[in-house]
Amino acid sequence: MASLAPTFGRGAMTNTWGDIKNTNLVVIMGGNAAEAHPCGFKWVTEAKAHNAAKLLVIDPRFTRSAAVADLYMPIRPGTDIAFLGGVIKYLLDNDKIQKEYVLNYTNAAYIVKQGYGFQEGLFSGWNEERKDYDRSSWDYELDEQGYVKIDNTLTDPRCVYQLMKQHYSRYTPEMVERICGTPKDKFLMAAQWMAETSAPDKAMTSMYALGWTQHSKGSQNIRAMAMVQLLLGNIGVAGGGMNALRGHSNIQGLTDLGLMSNLLPGYLNLPVDAEVDYATYIGRRNFKPMRPGQLSYWQNYSKFFVSFQKAMYGKAATKDNEFAYQWLPKLDVVYDVLRAFELMHQGKLNGYICQGFNPLMSFPNKAKLTAALSKLKFLVTIDPLSTETSEFWQNHGRYNDVKPEDIQTEVFRLPSTCFAEEEGSLTNSGRWLQWHWKGADAPGEAREDIRIMADIYRRIRGLYAKEGGTFADPVLNLHWPYRLPDEPTAEEIARETNGYVVESVPDPNDPSKMLLTAGLQLDGFAQLRDDGSTACGCWIYSGSFTERGNMMARRDTADPYDTGLAPNWAWCWPANRRVLYNRASCDAQGQPFNPKHRLVWWNGSRWTGPDVPDFVVTSKPSDGMGPFIMNAEGTARLFTRGMLREGPFPEHYEAMEAPIANPLHPKVSANPVARVFPGDRATFGTAADFPYVATTYRLTEHFHYWSKHTKINAILQPQQFVEIGEALAREKGIKAGDWVRVRSKRGDIEAVAVVTKRIKALQVDGRTVHTVGLPIHWGFVGQTRKGYATNTLTPFVGDANIETPEFKAFLVNVERLSAPSV
């Protein structure tokens, strides 16, 4: 999501599942929705059946999505930016952009500072010693009042539009074919299909997932399509959008709630070391509007922050102690999971807790992960199922070849309930918070996760209360308002997340009345205050559990305008808005670009419509407020300033392990700022030893490493396999059903070969490149046949901004085996 927020202001799928039916063109690239999200994909088939929509699939493999596509074309793994850069060039060259939209709702007209530039694969500000950029030149030119200078004619050579045009001038159709291996005529057909949706009443939706994120430049893959969508005027409109299809049922919720090293709930940031006090921290977050008349909603940051601290520490967070600001840990570096395992590997991590997570199978380079886990003093796993991680110390033959007696880690395995045995809410990809109910008791002694976490905390707190210890205050003073302290209920916590009034606030216009009454639930985040009178666990979730009750449990199926939004089903953040930035679906006068699929409109006195306006409802179109209210500009960013580490425009870089050097700039072939730990450089292979490109993926019959525990799914896809194209199979003498070994610099796996026409050899930069497909679902626990962790093969390298590992493009070799080793 680190690419959507810098572009639009919020890091989430812009539209919603049901809205996909309103589209004219579905582009599936960087994902495989039919395979990974079949029930969401239904809205693609609906769009095709009822809106005459077309489906375009661009993927290294002819996937299940491609099986029902109108047009499919192959692409070499890891070259999406080259393809999309080519599309940007096509749109600009052929003037196939939604002009009114681009001019008014993006930063195309903004003037960029002198000093910004791009040469030979590097943007301005490169520091060779630090291997990083000084990003100060990637910014706007400001006028005397501090506003950005603009040129509405889009002709100034320093304006974003012209710089973009110049940047992508290198991405010719010939270059696209040379890098991506996609035949030029097919590429042009795709570009033309996309271009048709630049008409104001046409929309295209982009559905993507880990096929874009799991790269060393994942954020920029997504940015490239976000730019295409902005040029086409497809953001904020029905049937449009950047639809990030989250992988897991509540990964959106976990991210919204800030369960990451560097976040606080609601996309607030944890302070860094230099932010030594609250004043410094908040002073850096004033979010002053960069253009006249803009909302820049993040100006309310202090209200969200202080209310969060009140939810954390209750009475103990006061104005006098900076609302307990110093009780928050400060960040020196981001401690993402790759760094966690790096620290573990270095012996710097003593304890680790895995709650419903199986990192041994999920993260790159299993050998490194096993060595790292073996250095822990203790590991706690909390899961309804037996996981490989919990048994990392057990010998499972070739599948997990370890010596238990040499592993000194203490391991605890705690049984938790599964979905059917607990209540609570999950946030889906479309930002809907949906409540679910318990259907049966847990088996045996299994307990709810809430109870387990509460119990661990209560015992630790008890120890601090009894024997004291280091910096005990935040532990002792954590706000714990639950009726049964060892067993908080989901409802109690949901009320806390929504927020409540701590101290009554009198109405300034009529002191006999109360604006806010102590003890009541908040209606929404507009009521939050930064004086300590409100508490709110997660500001974007404010409105989910109000005095009207649990809004997440709503089950009204009505959809009065047939928009697919179901506005009163469950509850959606923010403020129940189903399509983000929906103000952009209207022209400057406030009337829908597409009268057939309306979301909101200006009725002469206010904004109204089937969706909740993502806007100030009383702001007249003539006031000129921009639709991207979270951005200080009020517009969306084609040029992202210094918000991403690689640069303000996406540039094609090869994967860390790639079969060719980057044809655009061979000296800066891979992403220069990708996340690589020095010790891992030696584990990268070259095309000389590992000539084939590998890519990992899910199959529809399975869900990561859980569904191999279920009998039915084990029956549907019982055994590990790899997919090999017919050409490579011929070369290697491999027939369908043969055993093969796939080897990378980091290890090898054995599996059955599926030989297919669906993976084609591609002509890339004058040579033939084969792709090997590696489904991921097997392991050494469960009901399928045992298999190898596919992550035995993958490289320990991450995206530069969000550290997502590069699972989608790396190098391997393949050989035929006469029989499996075990």
Binding site: N250, Y352, P474
Partner: protein, 198 residues
């Protein structure tokens, strides 16, 4: 209905008798009424509970059917799960994982009691919740007390604990997530991540 279960070979052996029965039927003496008894509808008196599929982010609505009516002396067991037709996204449909959720609930590899593996041990040992949680609390507190970083080298207050970390779930509820957040951050834990990256 006949409890007769004859193998094919037996059928041939007793063909005379079988044919006799067949002939009677053929002559119109049908042994059963001309209504077929289809398999009884197995959900007739089960209890229905609404839930959400725990797998992907489409978050399809599901209906769980359990035995018993939640009377004091009955223990419910889920016997069937299918799509919730009211749900605006899945409209009753499910994918092959959602349609097989019943086997997740009843997977033989579900964990049913806490277990402990001592350093160097080759096997798990069943332990009580109290043993496990007391030991975990002790290990965490000792590690925190020993390795907590109050100030960085520049003397700035940082109050972080970097020697114990946590990976949060991807399918746990928002309520579990927020409570986990409170617990983790109150201790100053900073090596903290979730499954968003994979």
């Amino acid at each position: 209905m006949g409890a007769m279960s004859v193998s094919r070979r037996q059928f041939f052996r007793y063909s005379g008798a079988a044919l006799g029965a067949s002939s009677l039927t053929a002559l119109g003496f049908s042994p059963t009424p001309a209504l077929a008894q289809v398999r009884p509808f197995k959900l007739a008196r089960t209890t229905e509970t609404r839930n959400t599929c725990p797998y992907c982010s489409v978050s399809c609505g599901v209906l769980m059917y359990s035995t018993g009516d939640r009377a004091k002396n009955s223990r419910s067991s889920i016997i069937h799960i299918e799509g919730d037709p009211d749900h605006p996204v899945n409209r009753g449909t499910l994918c092959p994982k959602g349609a097989a959720l019943l086997d997740f609930v009843h997977a033989p590899t579900r964990l049913t009691y806490p277990e402990y593996r001592a350093p160097g041990a080759k096997e798990w040992k069943r332990v009580s919740w109290d043993f496990a949680l007391d030991r975990i609390a002790r290990l965490m507190k000792d590690d925190r007390d020993k390795n907590f970083i109050a100030k960085n080298q520049a003397g700035q207050t940082v109050n972080r604990w970097t020697s114990t970390g946590m990976l949060a779930a991807s399918a746990s509820s928002n309520e579990t997530a927020f409570l986990t957040y409170k617990v983790v951050r109150s201790m100053g834990m900073i090596v903290f991540d979730n499954q968003a990256r994979v």
